[in-house]
Structure formats: C-alpha cells, structure tokens
C-alpha cells in the first residue's frame, strides 16, 4: 500500500514537472529577431509619474524593438516615489510631474558619479482636460473661479446660477455634482490646483499641492480610477490628461475672454511662453508655467512632466543605455511616436533640440 502511494506521488510530481517545463518556453513576442540592428545590451529601470506611464510604455516598446538586447522597465508608482528612488539609486532615471526641488537637488544622488548633479528635461507635455459626465450636456464652459467652487464643494448642483451664467443656451439638469479628485499624491492634482490658485486666488486659497486639499468630493486612485469614476458615475466631473479622456465630454476653460478647449497645440503654445527656473545648471530645463495667459491660442491648464537622470553615471554602461533611451524620447521621432500612441503634445523643434543637446552630454 505504501509503495502504491509513493508511486502516485511520483506520478503527480512528474506531471507537474512536465507542466512546468511546458511553461518554461519563451514568450512568443520576446523571441529575438535574427539580425540585430544594435549592439546595446543591458537592463535598467525607471520609476515615477503615472501620467507618463503609457507614454513610457510606448517609448520602451519602440526602443526595445530597435535594441532587442535592452530591457527597460518603468514603474508608474508616482512622481514622488520616482524622485525618491532615483535619489537613493534604486532606479536609473525618474519621470516626474514636478521638477526637483532645491532641497532635493542638494542631496547626494547615489546612481550618479560622485559630485555630479542630475539633468532634467521636459519629456511629456499634456493638456489637462476637465472631463464631465452629465446626461444631456455635451458642451460646457467653465472659468477658474467656478471650477474652484465646484471642487471645493461650494457649488453642489449642476443648475447653479454660476454655471448657468457661463453657459447660456445650455439646459443644465437639477442634479447633484460629484466632483472626483485624485486620492493619491499626484502631479496632475498639483498642476490642477496650481492653475486654480494662480488664476482664481480668491476662490482657491490653498497653494499647489500633490494631495488634494479638501476631504469633500469623491476620491479616486490614479488617472484610470478617476476616469472610470467619472465615466461610470452620474453628474460627475474630474480632471485628467486629455489623452485619457476617452469618450467623455470635455469642458472649455476661460483663457482671457474666450473659452478654449484643450488641445496639444494649445499646450505647446503655453509651454513656449514659459520661463526657465533661474539659478540652476545649464542641464536643468525646469519650467515655470504662466497660468494667467490671455492668448486664446494657449491652454494654460497643462502638465509638464520631466525626465530626470544623471549627467554622469557611476556605472558608465548604464550611462550609455540611458543616453540612448533618453535621446530617443526627446527626439522628434520619439515625441511623434508618443503623440501617436498617447496623444501627448510634442516638444517644439527648438525645445527638442535643447533637450537633445543636454542628453548628448550624458556620460
């Protein structure tokens, strides 16, 4: 009896071993092409902004196709986490929705050669769309004051007089507003609250912050969580990258005297009139965005996200890889690929050149 039992155990073990072997094949999409166009090889990781997440996905896909021996992973854990992991040397580059603070710049960067500082270039610019889901309403005009009142919970009904005043001719329903904000610490929230604070300082007194400052309204995790909440809800309004707005209605916001819909072109125009933050290295392209633009071609509610890496890496082989990858991202080809895949606003030719020059100097 004992023998037959151990015999059965053996059969079971053998069967599971065969199953394991069958799984140990190669993923069909990972088989290497016969001729290899590049001899770069190695593995490195980045982390940071979840807004950049799907753009990074597209860039990694394109870059790995051209350089099959390179494996890049990007963890869209959030800007703060990305910066922290980069400073601590956990990842080779970070994607961040806000540039490094002076405080962070003063720290030691573990992945970089001793004594060297990081570079920062904008690599992902996207208009932030105010999305809403109200039955029977497809067009909506809003200004910063009304937006601030909606998100701070002062305006609670869609047919509020303040909203109606901006939307003559639109029938607004008697429906409660569910304002959805990001429950996680996010660059999108930081840029959105910065916009409200700069343009409507009386209605929105809180300074720009990655964590939404009120406990009122509905929280949702991540861009997708927010978009899903708006999409599946009733009388909902929220803010997200234009590329993620999906089939939802998008509000126009007041710029100067006109109402402007978010477009990639409007975002690029707004960046063109931004100024570089003073007192930093030449390789630090951090921008201060003017939210109070009056140019009707510009859309100042934008998110500028940065690529952060070392000017000189402690490990030169990583430096070579990052240089090639970052160079691709800010190149016109890379930006065009990003625009096609996720609808980012491509860097202007001038900015792309500036960024490429900085990256070409990476060691």
């Amino acid at each position: 009896m004992n023998i037959t039992r151990s015999g059965r155990v053996a059969t079971i073990v053998a069967a599971s071993a065969i199953t394991a072997l069958a799984l140990a094949g190669c993923a069909s999409n990972e088989s290497n092409p016969t001729k290899s166009p590049s001899n770069l090889s190695g593995t490195f990781a980045g982390a940071g902004s979840s807004a950049q997440g799907s753009a990074q996905e597209a860039w990694i896909a394109a870059f790995q196709t051209d350089n099959p021996k390179v494996t890049i992973s990007y963890d869209p854990a959030g800007s703060g986490a990305g910066r922290e992991q980069f400073i601590a040397g956990g990842v080779a580059f970070a994607g961040s929705d806000s540039y490094l603070s002076d405080e962070e710049l003063a720290k030691t960067f573990a992945a970089c050669a001793p004594g060297t500082k990081p570079f920062e270039v904008p690599n992902y610019i996207s208009p932030i769309a105010v999305i809403f889901n109200v039955e029977g309403v497809t067009e909506l005009n809003l200004d910063a004051t009304v937006l601030a009142d909606i998100f701070s919970g002062k305006i609670t009904k869609w047919n509020d007089a303040a909203i109606a005043a901006l939307n003559s001719g639109v029938t607004l329903p008697d429906l409660a507003i569910t304002a959805v904000h990001r429950s996680d610490d996010s660059g999108t929230t930081k840029n959105f609250t910065d916009y409200l604070n700069k343009v409507a300082p009386d209605a929105w007194t809180n300074a720009a912050a990655g964590v939404f400052p009120f406990t009122s309204g509905e929280g949702a995790n991540g861009t997708s969580g927010l978009v899903d909440a708006v999409k599946n809800g009733k009388g909902t309004i929220g803010y997200a990258d234009l590329s993620k707005a999906g089939g939802l209605s998008v509000a126009k916001i007041k710029v100067g005297d006109t109402f402007v819909a978010p477009t990639e072109k409007g975002a690029s125009t707004a960046v063109a009139s931004a100024t570089v933050v003073e007192g930093r290295d030449a390789s630090d392209l951090a921008f201060k965005i003017d939210r109070n633009l009056t140019d009707p071609n510009a859309y100042p509610l934008i998110l500028v996200s940065y690529l952060i890496g070392c000017q000189q890496y402690a490990d030169p082989s990583i430096g070579e890889l990052v240089k090639a990858y970052a160079g691709y991202i800010v190149s016109e080809a890379g930006q065009a690929a990003g625009a096609a895949a996720v609808g980012l606003a491509p860097l202007t030719a001038e900015l792309s050149k500036q960024a490429s020059d900085i990256i070409a100097a990476i060691k």
Partner: protein, 296 residues
C-alpha cells in the same frame, strides 16, 4: 375544554407558520447571497473569455502598447514566487507542527502556539512591508525581486500549514505510535514512517489550501516584487510580475486604448480563479487518493 383545544390548535398553527416562515427566510438568505456570488463568477468568466486565447498564454507585455499581449510573464512569476514560498513554508511549517505535537512541552511550545496565532493575524500588506524593509536594509530602497515576494508570502503561509498539519497529526491515534515504539522503532522513524504517512492526505490538503490562499495575494507583491512587462525567470534578480499584480496594474494603469487593458485584467482574474479552483480540486483528489483506506 373547548378553550384548551382552541388554544392548542392556535399554538400549533402559529408554530407551523413560524416554521414555514423560517424555512422561507433560510432559503431566501441563501438565494440573496447567491446573487452577488453568481454575478462575480459569471462576470469573471464572461469578461475573462474575451482574451482567453493563445496569445494571452504565449506572450508577455514586452513591447505591447494597447491591444494584444498577454500574461505569460505574470503566470510564470506567480508560479515561481508561489513555488518558492511553498518550498520555504512547507518544511518549516510541517516540522514546526511535528515539534508542537510530538516533541513540544512547556513554555516554548506554548509560546510558539501563541505566536502562530499572532502570525495568522498578520495583514498581508504588513507582511509585504516587512519583506521590503528587510531587504531595503541590505540592498537599498530600489530592491524589487521575486524571492522577496516569496518570503512575504511564506510569512502568510507558514501559520496555515502549521495549523492544518498540527490538526492532522493530533488525530493520529496514540496506539499507532505506541505499537511502533514497542517494536523498537526509534521516535523519528516512527514519525516519518508511521505518523506522517497516516496523516499525509490531510497534510497535503492543508498545504494545497495554504498555496491557494497566498497565490492570489496582491498587496505584498506590489510592494516587494514590483512589476515588469517582460518574462523574468530569475527569482533573485530584477522585478517579477505576478498574476494578481498584473490584474491590478492592468486595471489601474490603463493606456489610451482602455478596453484592451480591462480585457487583459479580466482574463488575468479568470486565470487566477481557475488556478485557485484547480488547486482546491487537486487538494480534494489528493486527500482521497493518499489517505489510507479506512481512515475517514
């Protein structure tokens, strides 16, 4: 007299009514509870079948943007991490149970029993935090690797294995042990040759159920195993995606073509559910096949 019959009659009517009512309530409770459970299973199957295809099982997410791709890397990651967790937990768990049942006396055994109880209460996310902090101490805060996930999972798995094994060992009749000692067989051989084989069916069932319990863990792996889009067979280096993390990230990091991501998430969920069900069925079959005839 008539009064009495009347009241007795009335009481029995009341009792019958109460009985009927409770029967209806019990069945109703059952049916109500069935609605969400059936909906859950039906949705997972219906939505999961959209991408339940060859490509899902033959490709990873490397170089995939939008539609296509699959969860092979996550499936491999899940199997490897869970297997590693099992390899760590099963010997420790079974040996601890043997210690408690066959050797343990006094304060040490009591405190171990108590600590096993404590361990059952560790929330899974705390296990992940522990593994992360442990390895971050040695390798820096960027550390993400499969084995770390396995260690977090073993923290959750060991108490389950100890508990079920302990229970199985305790029901082995003492007369069997005494008979073996009487024949001059040393204690350890008695345990290996007599006690363990007698209870092997129950022990394996417990182990398989413990595996099923941890295979679906998301939170600790999110923290310590990280995620990657490529296949990674190496438990010791680089990030490793597991199925639950795959489902979670596909849902939370949807790209421009959101539906493709949601479809993959549901298919991942379906595969995960099938794995768990398969493990449970295996546990049942093993329990039947391996338990000695006559017992149970």
């Amino acid at each position: 007299m008539t009064d009495l019959t009347y009241s007795r009659h009335r009481r029995s009517v009341r009792r019958t009514v109460v009985d009927r009512l409770m029967r209806v309530l019990v069945i109703l409770a059952f049916v109500i509870a069935l609605v969400p459970l059936v909906s859950l299973v039906a949705m997972t199957i219906a939505k999961g079948l959209n991408r339940f295809d060859g490509e899902f099982f033959s490709s990873s997410m490397r170089n995939i943007v939008g539609a296509g791709g699959g969860g092979l890397h996550a499936l491999v990651g899940t199997l490897e991490v869970t297997l590693a967790a099992a390899i760590i937990s099963i010997p420790i768990g079974i040996m601890t149970a043997i210690y408690l049942v066959e050797y343990g006396r006094g304060r040490l055994a009591k405190s171990i029993t108590f600590l096993i109880d404590v361990m059952t209460g560790i929330p899974s996310i705390v296990a992940g935090l522990f593994a992360f902090a442990l390895f971050a101490l040695f390798f820096g805060p960027g550390i993400r690797f499969g084995l770390g996930g396995a260690i977090a999972l073993s923290l959750l798995m060991i108490p389950v294995v100890v508990r079920s094994t302990e229970e199985m060992l305790r029901i082995v009749p003492n007369s069997l042990r005494e008979a073996s000692y009487a024949l001059g067989v040393p204690k350890w051989l008695t345990i290996v040759k007599v006690v363990l084989p007698t209870s092997i069916g129950g022990i394996i069932t417990g182990v398989v159920i413990a595996i099923a319990r941890v295979i679906g863990e998301t939170a600790p792996l999110l923290i310590i195993a990280g995620l990657s889009t490529s296949l990674n067979y190496d438990l010791f280096h680089d990030r490793m995606t597991t199925l639950p993390v795959f489902v979670y990230t596909q849902y939370t990091n949807q790209g421009a073509d959101a539906q493709a991501y949601i479809d993959r998430a549901w298919t991942g969920a379906l595969v995960l559910m099938l794995l768990v069900i398969a493990l449970n069925i295996i546990a049942r079959v093993l329990a039947k096949v391996l338990s000695p005839k006559g017992a149970r």
